[in-house]
Symmetry: C2
Subunit: 379 residues, 2 copies
Amino acid sequence: MTTVDHLRQVRLGNLRTVLLALVDRPGSRADLAARTGLTKATLGNLTEPLLAGGILVEEPATLAGMGRPSKPLRFHPEGPVAVGAEINVSHLAVETLGLDGETLERRLVPADTRGATADEVLDRVAELIREVTGPRKLLGAGLAIPGVVHDGVVIRTPNLPKLVGSPLAANLGRRLDLDVELDNEANLAALAHLWPHHLAGEDFVHVTADVGIGAGVVLNGEVYRGVSGFAGELGHVVIERNGVLCTCGSRGCVERYAGLDVILREAGRRTLNSLRKALDTGDSRAQEAVRKAGEALGVGLATLMNLFDVPTVVLGGSYALLYEHLSAAVQSEMDGRVLAGGERHARLVASPLGEFAVARGAAGLITRRAVQQPERLFA
Amino acid sequence: MTTVDHLRQVRLGNLRTVLLALVDRPGSRADLAARTGLTKATLGNLTEPLLAGGILVEEPATLAGMGRPSKPLRFHPEGPVAVGAEINVSHLAVETLGLDGETLERRLVPADTRGATADEVLDRVAELIREVTGPRKLLGAGLAIPGVVHDGVVIRTPNLPKLVGSPLAANLGRRLDLDVELDNEANLAALAHLWPHHLAGEDFVHVTADVGIGAGVVLNGEVYRGVSGFAGELGHVVIERNGVLCTCGSRGCVERYAGLDVILREAGRRTLNSLRKALDTGDSRAQEAVRKAGEALGVGLATLMNLFDVPTVVLGGSYALLYEHLSAAVQSEMDGRVLAGGERHARLVASPLGEFAVARGAAGLITRRAVQQPERLFA
DNA sequence: CAGACTAAGTTCAAGCATTGAACGAATGAG
DNA sequence: CTCATTCGTTCAATGCTTGAACTTAGTCTG
């Protein structure tokens, strides 16, 4: 720590505060000063390099009432952006995201990645990313995979076995000459509900079902990943200790009762769309399959809530699509099993984000990092 | 924020860093400078008021090799202390703790608190605290109860129903004219393993069985309490969704299989001591009861580890006393059910702290707060 | 025993981000 | 046109850390 560094930390912290306020909404220097608790003078200082660096723009002026009109500041429409990409077993998705939280481009293509090598997949991802990124400066790329990740390397991914041990972040980074951050799709889907906009508060769990069940846990406004990146493995929470054998070696894992494959099999359907049609026409076998899955999921979620004590559960992905047929059973199990005290109540909601949630979260990883470490914006 | 405040924050942060280094071990100004990354000059500045205020003392001098001898600084032996108290169904315990982490006094008395009112219990606690605190300045008192707590008020405590809704912190504070912090015994037992000394790393779960089962969760060096203080309710993790009915309204809770009352009943014993004697003499009914409890606990812990992803489980309280007869079954279930990847391995250890763990943790709450908010030391 | 050496602790001017007050700028009201 | 009002900038003051120079208090060598 040199002499400058301590004061520089203060400055960077204030810069972060200001940028966070701007993500919330644009505002003039005076308005930002009021919102952040800093002085107008400091705001002039802090925003000057952001304006000079093309991160922010000053809008013409807003004529509103008496006094000198304010010139609101907002993120520059030609400023830097981030891109997020999702590698899944049946599709690839990419999305570009501005610092202001606006989606710029998105693309989703079917792809059978199960048999593909890491290089083949990354080539295709890099191509997609090039398609959606224009001339604007790129802050970096976020990359999502269905599996556990550590230090940019895939540790475990039951459904894409050829990717295990592969340093995806570094390899995609080399292809694009870009900083790449690799993370679990469950974490990133959860992040998409936290950043850039709070869609479910600062403490919640986001649950999706693909082949397995993944939960992204947000505690105190931060995605909780655990020591080794294994946190939130809701799919392997045990609900029947002598139950069905699981691929993980355990018995009675939630995944074996509430996984999408189980629901489809029980309902006698091949695809999620077919299942939804059956549900809409009142097919009782389909409804029963979904209800039973909801019960199992509810038991697992009750356990999760008793351990994490978060007030909200967001059902995303396939679960969001089945929400109306699923939620009653889930809610009922949770209500009966979550420890109550005072006005504690488990709130269950469907994700509003749809199929781009993961890619958006991956991009959000990058814009969030840029705001939290503002020095990156000047690099 | 006035102009001073930003710089004051820097100073307080550095003060905290220095105090944390001193909790680790005493050291001269030069040594502390090296350990904290600050300069010798800053250390002179920071320690001066601590010495003047009687928080630290300068030891005579250590003659060790060449150069001017260093004068190590340590916490003043007559400096301020904290006291911790535990209210339990069958006993009360208190312990005083110095800033250096040394235990000064402790006392444990049997007490039947089940039927007592809050006032009766607090009178007795205040009396005990007065017995163990000498003339040294008191930084505050920590108070532990078996139950859920929020803002100094008891929210839920199945075994001490008369205390529900009672503002114990304020009421004990009034009796002693002292700052009192109220917390859950499970959290405080966990804290005792984290502060003042790391006994199980920075990420672990501490589990005890009394009437119920309580887990204190430490994530990233902080006790995790959850949004409403309900986090870590391992006792109500479901391991058999259609299992035994629990007092909480759910079915198949871990508590119903691994609670101390269940173990004793299954073993046909009345007290923990009698159970231990039976185990030592090779009583197979007792051994089987403990083994079965260990299995159930292991299933619940596996679920917990798959959600929190911490590397270590500490068995404390009664479980620590049963450790040698319990650990194999627990470990075996965990090994079979915790999701593995790389060199991930669930480490199971017995708490070394014994029956004062909770009271010590309660006192630690206060000394820790004093170090983390050093301005309190000058009040 | 004297002088060289070594390391601890202190002194002090320099650097820097924020602040508050004063000031200049831009507009509406009368 | 003048005053009130609000926005944004300028500037001296504040106070904490820093690094280098300096002082202090010992050991080591011959």
